[in-house]
Amino acid sequence: MKIAIIDYGAGNIKSIQFAFKRLGYEALLTNNADIIKQADRVIFPGVGEAGHAMKMLKASGLDRLIPRLKQPVLGICLGMQLMCLHTEESNTQGLGIFDVEVRKFTNAVKVPQMGWNTISNLKSSLFKDILDGEYMYLVHSYYAEQCKEAIATTHYEIDYATALQKDNFYGVQFHPEKSSGAGEQILKNFLDL
């Protein structure tokens, strides 16, 4: 199984590579369009600021490549947010794969949300063998609104879409690579799709 992790200069993405290694798979960090197109699975990570990340994607043409991919694609954290229509962060247009708006938490709660929160209303084989109410590790200030493409929700200030799916595209707000055994199970499920 060929796994490509899209490397566009966005933060600590080695952790994802290490998580696959713990599962027994070698994943490749790459920004090469051909390698990404030919991979069996594609991971679209992202840590940092949305406007800057989108510029990096555009500079390398990855913004046009990603929405055309046919194999299962998993966006993680900011990667998932960039797959949405638009984000309030630096008023950034996303890739528009998911028909949903990304908004900022208000000051009614501590921002960023940092730590372990539960995922519920699980609606995908991505969550095979995962219990409703399982804890995942999250670090984020912006969230995708509840929508028809949601395949899991988390409550922080409001119920929001903590995972999304449309066709071959999946996105998770939490960090499966940092979410203990349950997170690794989700990565394994993604490979089994």
Binding site: N12, S15, V47, G48, P112, Q113, G115, W116, Y137, H155
Partner: protein
């Protein structure tokens, strides 16, 4: 609901845990990676590694350790100690650290907080603050709490938030090492004046102390060292006790 976090802290020198770790079932209790894996299994939510190496060689060894932790441990971890530049942070993140923590270097050069959060995102920038209560006022201390400053804790914490810190790690020098409980009054005040997560540190002695700091101190996370390292408070038992107190924890 977002769970309250339990964070064991490990002092690291030249890539090894410093004395004071007494763990059963470990092949090598001096190996931070072995220890980190054990803590992850027991239910720790995060780990903090504090590098107290005094030499460049020691720091290089710690970097190798960071890489091994990232490879083998499946929960997030923060690295602190002696970090004073963008290059230091870049290197640590590239070795797989999830967050970094700065302390004295932020006081000496507050712009560093802005520079780091702009470049790497505030989510990975923890500002650690050591403070001491003197005549009803709290003052920031440097170099592991040994050097006093004129800076007032509650002014500094606001500035740190405005400059882009993603989280505060607050250690009360009055409580650290006493095992008499956390500085809950100061912690609650910190939570009321800033809107970023606060990690309580200094004073953990009993399970009740953790419950108190989450309820009275309004802390988002609690950090401790010796009570975990010596097995005085097993993390599983601690979390069960917290849940019995209606505190949200990940079990």
């Amino acid at each position: 609901m977002l769970a309250k976090r339990i964070i064991p802290c490990l002092d690291i020198k030249n890539g090894r845990t410093v004395k004071g770790v007494n763990f059963v079932n470990l092949i090598d209790a001096g190996d931070p990676v072995e220890l980190a894996k054990q803590y992850a299994i027991e239910g720790a939510d995060e780990l903090v590694f504090l590098d107290i190496s005094a030499t460049l060689e020691g720091r290089a060894t710690t970097l190798e350790m960071v890489l091994r932790v990232a490879e083998q441990v499946n929960i997030p971890f923060t690295v602190g100690g002696g970090i004073s530049s963008i290059e230091d942070v870049d290197t640590l993140l590239k070795h797989g650290a999830d967050k970094i923590s700065i302390n004295s270097s932020a006081v000496k050069n507050p712009d560093l907080i802005n520079e780091l959060s702009n470049k790497f995102g505030s989510q990975c920038i923890v500002v650690a603050i050591d403070a001491k209560q003197i005549d009803n006022d709290w003052f920031v201390h440097l170099a592991g709490g040994t050097i006093p400053t004129e800076i007032r804790l509650f002014d500094w914490v606001k500035e740190v938030e405005q400059r882009g810190a993603g989280e505060i790690l607050f250690t009360s020098m009055n409580h650290d090492g006493t095992k008499n409980g956390f500085a809950n009054e100061a912690l609650a005040k910190l939570s009321s004046i800033v809107n970023i997560p606060i990690i309580a540190s200094g004073g953990a002695g009993t399970k009740q102390h953790f419950a108190d700091t989450f309820i009275e101190g309004k802390a988002d996370a609690a950090l401790a060292a010796s009570v975990f390292h010596f097995g005085e408070i097993p993390i599983k038992e601690l979390k069960e006790e917290l849940r019995n107190n209606n505190i949200e924890v990940r079990i």
